[in-house]
């Protein structure tokens, strides 16, 4: 019920076309890269997917992060813009269910974007390399890993947007976090756990023991942010 409601609110904000367009744009990154510079990549001895991820993922992850930041901002902007939030408060709906519905919709949208990106990577492999047996499983694993690593960013960004009444502040905070993430060296494990830096990681340049640690980190961060948001909403309700 709550999820349907949240989805309806988004109808006129251009949320879905924006995510679709963003997905297409980031899907174009590997295709464009292969179109213009295929000779650099085709002759490399490494697995095709690894080549594609190494060459394109930084840019694609950045576009995905932009989508997360803007999507979360817009979701709460519609609530705050004309004091719709106060009307929501008067309804018999919990604010937390409101929050988690938004988080759920944002997550599903990002998974859809990742699916578009996966399709484009598959197209690249089909067109410029050759399809091999384990290719589908490897692609699913890499994209699934990317989806898992995006979860802390999703919940944190939705939280930031829920806290800031003005869109430029939530947008600013999100962009600053992204900026910090771009400065973090990927080799430093502790710093890489910063939520906005996680989506830049790929399955291909992470050791197998590290992968498990990253997934644990994701679980802990998601739990902590979720709890913090619940407490924040409770406290805010008290002082309203």
């Amino acid at each position: 019920m709550s999820i349907c409601l949240e989805y309806k609110k988004l109808k006129r904000t251009g949320f879905l076309p924006a995510f679709f367009g963003g997905g297409l744009l980031s899907a174009f990154v590997p295709i464009g890269n292969m179109m213009f510079r295929s000779e650099i990549f085709v002759n490399s001895p490494e697995p095709a997917l690894k080549i594609l991820f190494n060459a394109n993922w930084q840019m694609m992850a950045m576009l995905n992060l932009f989508l997360i930041v803007i999507g979360a901002c817009i979701m709460y902007h519609t609530e705050y813009a004309d004091n719709a939030m106060q009307k929501m408060d008067a309804l018999p709906i919990r604010q937390s269910s409101n929050f988690f519905s938004k988080f759920f919709i944002l997550t599903v949208s990002i998974i859809a974007v990742l699916a578009i990106e996966a399709a484009s990577l598959a197209f690249c492999i089909h067109h410029w390399f050759s399809l091999y047996d384990e290719f589908a499983i490897e692609l699913l694993k890499s994209i699934g890993y990317a989806a898992i690593l995006a979860v802390p960013t999703l919940i944190l960004m939705t939280g930031i947007a829920s806290i800031c009444k003005n869109m430029w502040i939530s947008l600013g905070v999100g962009i600053i976090c992204m900026f910090v993430a771009t400065m973090i060296p990927k080799t430093n494990f502790i710093l890489s756990l910063f939520p906005f830096a996680l989506p830049f990681q790929t399955l291909w340049d992470t050791e197998s023991t590290r992968i498990f640690q990253f997934i644990c980190g994701v679980g802990i961060e998601t739990g902590v942010f979720g709890m913090a948001e619940l407490i924040y909403l409770k406290v805010r309700r008290k002082f309203q």
């Binding site: 904000t13 251009g14 949320f15 924006a18 367009g21 963003g22 744009l25 840019m59 950045m62 576009l63 932009f66 989508l67 930041v69 803007i70 999507g71 901002c73 817009i74 902007h77 813009a81 004309d82 003005n166 869109m167 430029w168 502040i169 947008l171 600013g172 905070v173 962009i175 600053i176 992204m178 900026f179 910090v180 771009t182 400065m183």
Partner: protein, 256 residues
């Protein structure tokens, strides 16, 4: 109402917007690692760049590539959205003020905010260079003239980009698209500066300038020069066209 007092009014409107914090925090965060890793500046003999030049140029590159354009986008959101709540903009339009003037005043405020961030960047540079000098026992502070020249060039080259963002913000009513397109245009600027047609892409100008400056300082990296023609005429054309379009489009939806 004179243009200057109109700018004064616009500045007053954003007094409590906390935008200065949004502009300041990334700059502080940018310079902290630069001070902590100041010793890495001594490892750049291979590129032929002096440590003090490297200290300046690395942080300015990080700034010009991502944070500076993104800040401009955030400022356009601020300028556009402050008056949307409670329909403040409609009240502005009901006053006997020309819409063009209002649009230009807001654009000037955008340029002022960019100046403010550049000044913050410069202040932090001198502060951090002084700290790094005392830690590393090496003179990192360059002559203010050189530093001012770099910052001034980045700023001037960013004006066409600012007009493009301002045009996006005024022409596209749905915020998700104006912000989304604005932010998405930052990403390919790294690719754009490596093409021959870079001057057709205003979002890469500041990054182009600073990259070229770095190659001038790093004698072993080869040249990465740019020609003023046809860049300057193209940049001016972008500025004028975008400003005219945004002035025409500004408030057209509300004014109906």
């Amino acid at each position: 109402m004179s243009f200057l007092s109109l700018i004064g009014v616009e500045l007053k409107k954003i007094q409590h917007s906390k935008i200065l914090w949004i502009l300041l925090i990334p700059i502080v965060l940018l310079w902290i690692p630069a001070v902590i890793n100041a010793d890495l500046n001594f490892d750049t003999q291979l590129e032929g760049i002096s440590p003090e030049n490297n200290f300046l140029v690395q942080s300015f590159m990080g700034f010009a590539w991502f944070m500076y354009p993104a800040s401009l986008v955030i400022c356009t959101v601020l300028l556009n959205q402050t008056e949307r709540s409670n329909r403040g903009i409609l009240k502005m339009f009901s006053l006997p003020i020309s819409r063009f003037k209002l649009c230009l005043a807001k654009f000037v405020v955008l340029l002022i905010l960019a100046v403010v961030q550049m000044v913050m960047m410069l202040t932090m540079y001198f502060l951090c260079a002084a700290i790094a000098s005392s830690i590393q026992d090496y003179q990192f502070i360059l002559s203010p003239l050189i530093v001012l020249k770099e910052a001034g060039m980045i700023y001037l080259s960013s004006i066409p980009m600012a007009t493009v963002y301002w045009m996006l913000a005024t022409c596209i009513q749905t915020p998700i698209f104006s912000i989304g397109i604005g932010l998405a245009t930052i990403v390919p600027s790294v690719l754009a500066i490596n093409t021959k047609m870079w001057f057709l892409y205003p979002m890469c100008y500041p990054f182009m300038i600073i990259t070229s400056e770095m190659h001038k300082m790093a004698t072993n990296l080869g040249t990465f020069s740019y020609k003023l023609f046809p860049w300057i005429p193209v940049a001016m054309a972008f500025t004028v066209i975008c400003l005219v379009i945004s002035c025409i489009r500004f408030g057209q939806v509300e004014g109906r």
